[in-house]
């Protein structure tokens, strides 16, 4: 604004002075006071003088102060916070310098405040960092913090000491140069995949890995650093396990080997002693067996010492064992096989079983065996099937082809593990779990199994829900079941050929028409009669209301567990995507469906696929009894249910039961989906009539049962 004023002001002055000069020249000429040229020159001089005066005035009053002000502002921008805006001397800028000075002063104050706040925050951060460092440095365990791509963010002295002060240990350096990346990446993936089971793991089970140079063996645990739902990195905590596990006598496998070594001289000793007890023994034989006893006794004592040594070492070493689901083990091994060429698919089928062992190594063992199978026979698909056998778990790698001979399998087991992780060969993983492996006929045409016998977990017994739980009401409701808009031809498809999603829900209570809501929804897929226990859906849901204690006692889900979980709108949309294109199956399906339907509109989805109910199918198949609860049906089919009253456990159990029913239904001439649905309708009508006959029909569709 000011410069424009100055310019228009000075332009006006120039006009006035120039006009004055011209008027003066005209007057001098007219008056004849001076000759024309002189008058003109005088006028011109006057005009020039006027202009000069105006220029000087403009320079002193406006332009110079403005330049000064500009320099001052520029200085203010770049100078430290303590510089004040210098006031200029005489000027015609009015309040402008004062206003600018005030502005600068205010900016200076703000800057001071900001600096002070930053200093304080910095001091607090420093304090926290110092404290954290003190804690880290005082730990005897090595600690390394890493970003998701395994670059080092922090580490402590113990880490440096345990790793042998390697030059590669520094901030922003890759962890992979220090610690074998295989097991670390494996566990990273496991922790990242924690969401698949509803619960994100806070810290991994202990696992073993070596330093990158293979010199040291580390026993590690990993805790993910989460930010905004994703994994931003992890903290790796480790101890040096080299001494424990690599000692000449280390590990359960080594102890087993030494016990075995002891049995041979024991057998010779006992046999010889018993021969010596024979009164009719010829003197020559007596001498021979006496020699055997002498020699074998020396051997026996030496091997006993060995065993003692190994046992001592074992007591010190803590082996990282954990409860594992066989389906998870299959997933882990499957991940490890993903980069194989041609691609190898390992698919967990059937009901998963809890086993106890070292997951990282077992996954490596499975990977190694599948790779060997593929290399030898060209198979690219292997199924992983598990069954509990007493205190053991039978883990079968099922493939198309003939059994592998023990000699060939022994050769495979002598192969090295894919990565250095404490154990060297595949065989060591078996030894370490006191396990056996062999191959035999698969019991189905053209199929064989490679069977592993591994230690079972004690979970099954402890995971069972109390037996005195209230039964769920049995629901049946035509409207709920009859919404299916089956794609043409679907009804004619054989039951055995369809894709199913078997699901179960846990709820706040038993009244879907009232205020009760879903707290957990879980499902598993059946494709081509194979229960894909690796393809599961499991979500905890925030019901938006408190979970009554009686219900928590039933399914074990409490308010804190669902806090912060997605609402049903989100979980239902996800489940809808999981179930797309599949026939839905549930036990007492109408109960679960009622809860699903209730939230459909809010979730913006519609479950319009056909639904089969194992309770109704059981009522038809086993009409000799009224026991159609999931436990009773499972018992009839010899299916062992684990994790009962947890949505995923129940969904898996229902799926296993449903698979057995498909065979039984075929035997009764029920082959297609249409047949099964018609049969179900008949069962609904029958049960409704029965219910009404017993007088409980007033509350439509509800009867206490299964």
């Amino acid at each position: 604004m000011a410069p424009r004023l100055v310019h228009s002001g000075s332009a006006l002055l120039i006009l006035v002075i120039a006009g004055g000069g011209l008027v003066l020249a005209g007057w001098l000429i007219e008056a004849g006071a001076a000759p024309v040229p002189l008058a003109l020159a005088l006028g011109f001089l006057l005009v020039s003088l006027g202009c000069l005066g105006v220029w000087v005035l403009q320079e002193l009053a406006w332009l110079r102060p403005l330049r000064t002000l500009t320099r001052e502002i520029q200085l203010q921008i770049h100078a430290g916070p303590n510089r004040r805006l210098a006031a200029s001397g005489r000027h015609a800028l009015g309040d402008l310098p004062a206003a600018l000075a005030a502005l600068a002063e205010r900016t200076r104050e703000l800057r001071h405040e900001q600096d002070r706040a930053l200093r304080e925050a910095g001091a607090r951060g420093d304090e926290q960092r110092v404290r954290l460092e003190a804690v880290l440095q005082s730990l005897g365990d090595g600690v390394i913090g890493c970003s998701a791509d395994r670059r080092i963010l922090l580490f402590n002295d113990a880490a440096r000491r345990i790793l042998g002060a390697p030059p590669g240990l520094g901030l922003d350096r890759p962890l992979d140069r220090l610690i074998a990346s295989g097991p670390v990446r494996h566990v990273q993936r496991l922790l990242g995949a924690g969401d698949d089971h509803g619960e994100a793991s806070a810290v991994s089970e202990a696992f073993l890995c070596t330093t990158a140079d293979g010199e040291r063996l580390l026993r590690c645990r990993m805790a993910p650093i989460r930010r905004g739902g994703g994994a931003a990195g992890f903290i790796l905590e480790f101890v040096d396990a080299t001494a424990h596990l690599r000692a000449p006598a280390g590990g359960p496998g080594e102890v087993a080997r030494r016990v075995r070594a002891l049995r041979a001289p024991a057998a010779s000793l006992i046999a010889a002693a018993e021969m010596l007890g024979d009164p009719d023994l010829a003197p020559a034989h007596r001498h021979d067996f006496g020699g055997v006893v002498e020699r074998e006794a020396v051997l026996f004592r030496a091997r006993l010492d060995d065993l003692d040594h190994a046992l001592g070492a074992l007591a010190e070493a803590a082996w990282p064992d954990a409860d594992l689901l066989t389906s998870d083990l299959g997933l882990q091994a499957g991940h490890r096989l993903a980069d194989a060429e041609p691609p190898l698919v390992l698919q967990a089928i059937g009901l998963p079983v809890w086993l106890r062992g070292d997951g990282v190594h077992l996954a490596m063992l499975l990977e190694g065996l599948v790779r060997a199978l593929a290399g030898a026979s060209g198979v690219t698909r292997v199924d992983l099937e598990a069954a509990r056998a007493g205190s053991r778990v039978r883990l079968d790698l099922r493939y198309a082809g003939s059994p592998v001979s023990p000699a060939v399998l022994a050769g495979w087991l002598d192969r090295d593990l894919p990565e250095s992780a404490g154990l060297q060969r595949l065989r060591d993983v078996l030894e370490r779990h006191q396990a056996e492996a062999w191959s035999q006929d698969g019991g189905r045409p053209e199929e064989s199994v490679l069977r592993l016998l591994l230690p079972a977990s004690s979970r099954l017994a402890t995971g069972d829900a109390p037996a005195d739980l209230p039964p769920r009401p049995e629901f049946y409701d035509f409207d709920l079941m009859e919404r299916a808009t089956a794609t043409p031809g679907l009804l004619e498809r054989p039951l055995a050929s369809l894709t199913y999603v078997v699901f179960d829900t846990e709820t706040t209570g038993l009244d879907p028409a009232g205020r009760d809501e879903i707290v957990q929804i879980a499902a598993v897929r059946i494709v081509n009669r194979r229960l894909l226990s690796g393809e599961t859906f499991d979500r905890l849901v925030d019901p938006g209301r408190p979970i009554p204690q009686a219900s928590s006692r039933f399914h074990g889900i409490t308010d804190p567990m669902v806090r912060g979980r997605p609402p049903i709108e989100i979980a239902l949309a996800q489940f809808h995507a999981f179930a797309e294109g599949a026939v839905l199956v549930a036990h007492n399906a109408a109960f679960d469906l009622a809860f699903l339907r209730k939230a459909e509109e809010r979730a913006g989805v519609r479950f319009d696929q056909p639904v089969l109910d194992t309770l109704l199918l059981s009522a038809i198949l086993h009409d000799h009894t009224d026991e159609h609860g999931l436990d009773a049906i499972a018992a009839r089919f010899g299916v062992v249910l684990a994790d009962r009253h947890q949505a995923l456990g129940d969904a898996l159990g229902t799926a296993e039961v449903f698979l057995r029913m498909i065979d039984l239904l075929a035997g009764r001439g029920v082959r297609t989906l249409g047949d099964a649905l018609r049969l179900s309708e008949r069962a609904v009508a029958l049960r409704r009539r029965q219910a009404e006959a017993f007088g409980s029909g007033a509350r439509r569709g509800v009867r206490v049962g299964g």
Partner: protein, 123 residues
């Protein structure tokens, strides 16, 4: 004619006792020191029963067991596996691969003789 028993073990001291024991019961005894030799011996003259140690270098007892069961002519041969692993897991493996019985070392010679005699119908 005496029944033939093949003893397969690579430890001479236990072989000495087993040979003595079986001969005392009136069986004809042959000894093989490893799996390969056992299969060769059976090829020369079939045995009625094989006392088969599991742990042998190269061709182990399981492999011998499978080879015996793969031969159509040797189906009548009874197999008792002798093992140094005192665990049920190995027993299941041995039975799955075709063994008739499974005996853990050390064993009672009296029990072993009783089992052999039961399998061979008293000899």
């Amino acid at each position: 004619m005496a029944k033939r028993v093949l003893v397969v073990d690579d430890e001479p001291n236990i072989v000495m006792s087993l040979r003595f024991l079986m001969e005392r019961e009136g069986f004809e005894v042959e000894v093989a020191e490893d799996g390969g030799a056992a299969v060769e011996a059976l090829g020369r003259a079939p045995a009625d029963l094989v006392l088969l140690d599991v742990m042998m270098p190269d061709c182990d007892g399981f492999e011998v067991c499978r080879r015996i069961r793969d031969q159509p002519g040797w189906q009548g041969t009874r197999i008792i596996m002798l093992t140094a692993k005192g665990r049920d897991v190995e027993r299941e493996k041995g039975m799955a691969l075709g063994a008739d019985a499974y005996v853990t070392k050390p064993f009672s010679t009296r029990d072993l003789v009783a089992r052999v005699k039961a399998m061979l119908g008293g000899a």
